[in-house]
Amino acid sequence: MAKNFKSANALELKNALELKNACVAKGKKTIWSNSTLTIKPNEITAIIGMNGSGKTTLLEVMLDIIPLNSGEIYILDQKPKKMRSQIGYVPQKYQLSASNVIRGYDALALGLVGNKLGISLSNKYIRNQIYQLADHLQINHLLNRRLSEMSGGQLQKIAVSQALINNPKILILDEPLANLDIQSTNEILTLIQHLKNHHISIFIVTHDLNPVIDLIDGAIYLLDGHAHYLPVKNLKNEKLLSYLYSTKIEVVHTKDGAFIRNKK
């Protein structure tokens, strides 16, 4: 028992994300530089910043789509290239690519085996994994529906399920709440909240901090060409947020939680 506890502790020590003096450039343009931060595992972290501040670039570095120019990046103490199979990724444009050609089932099957050679999308292993996850996330009714026949919220659930089906240790959501109505937003937030207890580190790129502010443990904010990290209690800082969004912001605390708004 003591031994088990120790090994569990050892797992806990692996940081979800670590940047050490990281710099990244696209062509000759430096996107952000000299960034050092550490994100603890099994936390929910928002990635915020103005348009063009390099949020997507940070994702691309984490997913090993583009390399760092200098410095180091570690995901669960490993180079990103080795960690691809441990990362579930929900792209921002998922809704655009949703068409009438596949069903929810096929989307999940592609999440599971889309990077593996072969033709089968319905062997016993694939079916088992899909039905198990669908039961767990209560999306059974979507499996036989075409993506084009789903609502924005249902589609986002499929997108998240597609990313989760490999049991990743890291989940990256790029603007998961964009274009969703209030009910769907709440459903996706409930889903993310539910995942929090399942040993997974979640990164949420968002332009709007409010819907996630009571959900997150902290945020990576991209400001002045650097990536910084703050835990959420320090993030609710009017001066910082005003600077970050280049507009006067106030933090309002209510009995249901905090939210930020433009100061009148």
């Binding site: 997913l63 090993d64 789509i65 290239k81 691809r84 990362i87 990724y89 792209p91 444009k93 998922y94 690519s97 068409s99 009438n100 050609v101 596949i102 069903r103 096929d106 592609l110 999440g111 085996v113 889309g114 990077n115 593996k116 050679l117 072969g118 033709i119 089968s120 999308l121 075409r146 597609q162 990313a163």
Partner: protein
């Protein structure tokens, strides 16, 4: 207009060139049925249409130079595919650029055809296809290609499907999406050139796109879609050929008509079913 019933059609069916037409038609239909599915899911319908027009100056130019028509056809389709791949998203996202290039290519096709006396007679068979003029050596080559296509499909189906449906996720999973896109374009150009021999550049859509569209209207299961797409393409070609022989009609006409009828019935039925379920 005189549609006449050919009494001795049974005798015709045993002719070598007719048997070859059925064989080659089947091979091209199945190739088109497979690739058509990916053309639709990759939203490349307009590009496939453009490729068929790019083949035209190749075919008429080949005649001008005294080369086999097919060589020019395949060369230009292939070069067109490579150009479109290199230009990448810049061109594929703009229908205007693609459309302008296909108009230009068709123009050059006309020019080359005017420059040679022999070419203008061949022009019609390139524009509208002529399945009865296909050589048996072509049938053998095409069947080798189809065999390769099926093997490639069995090996690469899952990653190609992911790359086609969601490039962002495929990139994140470490798949070489650009390599898949380029390979797809090359294979598409070969199928387009093959299909031109059967139905011609102008009617290509009905053989490559329409059967796949009909299949997708029926099922969203990818593998079933591909199989159905092949069945519809094959039905169009064989039934079309058969009717064209019996009634002495141009085969390209009967093939595209059947392809259209299948699509029309399915999309009508689907609408009815859809309205009922609401």
């Amino acid at each position: 207009m005189n549609i006449k019933y050919i009494n001795n059609w049974i005798n015709l069916l045993s002719q070598d060139f007719i048997i070859n037409a059925f064989l080659c038609g089947a091979i091209v239909a199945i190739s088109a049925g497979i690739i058509g599915y990916f053309v639709i899911i990759r939203k490349a319908t307009f590009i496939s249409h453009a490729l068929s027009h790019i083949g035209l100056p190749g075919a008429t130019g080949a005649i001008l130079l005294g080369l086999p028509v097919s060589s020019g056809l395949f060369l230009f389709c292939g070069l067109g595919a490579i150009t479109i791949t290199i230009l990448g998203k810049k061109i594929t996202d703009t229908d205007i650029a693609t459309g302008s290039i296909l108009a230009l290519a068709t123009g050059f096709g006309l020019l080359f055809s005017n420059m040679s006396s022999k070419a203008s007679t061949t022009m019609t068979s390139i524009l509208f296809g002529n399945i009865f003029t296909i050589y048996s050596i072509q049938t053998i080559l095409f069947s080798c290609f189809l065999a390769c296509l099926i093997i490639l499909l069995i090996i690469f189906f899952r990653p190609l499907l992911l790359c086609s449906l969601n490039e962002d996720i495929a990139n994140a999973r470490g798949l070489p999406t650009r390599l898949y896109a380029a390979s797809f374009m090359i294979i598409l150009s070969i199928v387009v050139a093959m299909s031109i021999e059967v139905v011609g550049t102008l009617l290509l859509f009905a053989l490559v796109i329409t059967p796949a569209a009909s299949a997708i209207a029926i099922t969203a299961n990818p593998i079933k879609s591909i199989i159905l797409s092949c069945i519809f393409a094959l039905t169009s070609v064989w039934l079309g050929l058969f009717i064209s022989i019996i009634f002495s009609l141009p085969p390209s006409f009967t093939i595209v008509t059947i392809s259209f009828i299948i699509w029309f019935i399915i999309s009508r039925l689907k609408k009815l079913v859809f309205q009922d379920s609401n």
